[in-house]
């Protein structure tokens, strides 16, 4: 009887695959990334290594000694306390305690302070509280503590914000008006992000994590890159992480440019040099998981994209690994077998500098 290995679908469901099926899915996933991104597929040796990682009988795996990388945790400050279906564990604790637990008990090398709404715009009315919390955290912690939030440009459109919703305009064939609305929103997002970070830097922040850049399309990245540029100019020593929302930068505007490059349609290996050009210290590539495909397919695809990003990035790449990204199933609390295998693959095959 052929040996079958217990793996998962992209939605977390258990599947049992033979070595031949695993190899075929790894190759197909890698070929998909290579085709879409115009990048090299993984070599035969790399596919073999990936298969070996996936077929390891242990429940969890780790990197080889000497290959350890720095790890950080977005919004970990509220991960302990959170209990709203957001993979928090519901243990009453302050954000300071959450941060210190990650630093001293869980081995996080850097941390970020985040607000429960986790977008920049809603931080404005509570900026005084965020400043005070940042100051208290900095007084108690040793590892670098950034401030983290999502650019989330959608919050600047009606009914949340002042500009007409491009989705509505687009459906009415008002394309020019939709693009103008995105341009206005981008200007406001840049302005707000810089304003917020000026205050948090005054409170001792070590830097900023832009989490899920591009979630609202190319305008979201346009605004983020300009904010990074402005912050780098104003704070030469600020530590800036530019983390993406997905592998493909969606062109909701379609014509926005940064440094002469059209932003719509950029893949991770093309996004990284722009983040570096704007002034980021670290680039966070993201590859979303297809829930209808197997974990070998998703991992082959994700590693191919991220390896190309690492190669072309002038700055370190800290890959985003977790619920529904990086070849890990879309699962409320991702399983350790999938997380540890995908993470090992990203370090040992894609060559990431951190997670």
């Amino acid at each position: 009887m052929t040996t079958e290995y217990a793996l998962r679908m992209g939605d977390g469901k258990r599947v049992f695959l033979t070595k031949e099926q695993i190899m075929a899915d790894l190759e197909e996933g890698s070929a998909d990334a290579a085709d879409l991104g115009g990048i090299p597929a993984l070599s035969g040796d790399e596919i073999d290594k990936l298969a070996e990682i996936l077929m390891t009988p242990s429940r969890m795996v780790g990197v080889e000694p000497g290959k350890e990388v720095p790890v950080t945790h977005d919004i970990g400050t509220i991960r302990i306390d959170g209990d709203q279906g957001n993979s928090g564990v519901g243990i009453p604790s302050s954000r300071l305690i959450g941060s210190m637990m990650h630093e001293r008990a869980f081995g996080a090398d850097t941390m970020e302070l985040g607000h429960i709404d986790y977008s920049f715009k809603p931080v404005k009315p509570v900026i005084a509280q965020e400043m005070q919390t940042m100051e208290v955290c900095q007084q108690n912690m040793i590892v670098p503590l950034l401030y983290g939030a999502m650019p989330n440009m959608g919050l600047y459109y009606t009914p949340d914000g002042p500009f007409e919703n491009p989705g509505d305009l687009m459906k009415a064939f008002k394309i020019k008006e939709a693009q103008e609305s995105m341009e206005h929103a981008a200007d406001h997002l840049t302005r707000d992000t810089v304003w917020i970070m000026q205050r948090l830097m005054a409170s001792g922040a070590d830097g900023v994590n832009f989490d899920t850049i591009g979630a609202a399309g190319d305008g979201d990245m346009f605004a983020s890159l300009h904010a990074i540029e402005a912050l780098r100019k104003q704070f030469p020593d600020i530590y800036i992480e530019a983390g993406m929302a997905g592998e493909l930068l969606l062109g909701l505007h379609g014509e926005m440019e940064y440094d002469g490059t059209v932003l719509a349609g950029l893949w991770p290996h093309q996004q990284a040099p722009l983040a570096a050009k704007a002034g980021a210290n670290v680039f966070g590539p993201v590859v979303n998981t297809n829930t209808s495909k197997t974990s070998p397919w998703n991992l082959g695809r994700a590693v191919t994209f991220v390896k190309a990003a690492v190669k072309d990035s002038p700055i370190p790449c800290h890959v985003n690994m977790g619920m529904g990204v990086g070849g890990i199933p879309m699962f409320e609390t991702p399983t350790i077998d999938a997380v540890s295998r995908a993470s090992k693959a990203m370090v040992e095959i894609a060559g990431v500098d951190g997670i």
């Binding site: 939605d11 989705g167 459906k171 064939f173 394309i175 062109g251 505007h253 379609g254 879309m330």
Partner: protein, 167 residues
Amino acid sequence: MNEVGILFERGKLFLPHVMMAAGAMEAGVALLEADLPKDAASKKLGVIVNGTVEGDVHDIGKSIVSTMLQSSGFEVHDIGRDVPLQDFIDKIKETNANMVGMSALMTTTLPGQKEVIEMLKEQGMRDGIKVMVGGAPATQAWAEKIGADCYAENASEAVSKAKELLL
């Protein structure tokens, strides 16, 4: 439009381009209308009510799906985001829709999709309408669990699955 759809899926064309192409197609069809058999030019592929369920303010993914469905020839009634569940039922009745699309971007709002399906059953409407679900935490397994007719991973897949179910 099929070719435009493929290029959209591959990240080579984007929403404004899809809309420009759809606009051009509509204008072209209008010119040809006189030469086409009656009803052929204006016939819609189906009527779809689409929205993001109550408690969830995410709009962008749902809007892209609506736009792609519309530009592919469906009559789409986008009822917005944070939509009270009863509004889905009311709009389906009002428009005599063939399909309802429900988006949710949070695990906490995902159960709204299930509740609407239950409401459709309670009102004896379930057999007459196809149900599509989507959004980041939605999966094929979730669609099967709650008894939806299909799950779509992205906007392009939403179009192809809507065609599969309605044509």
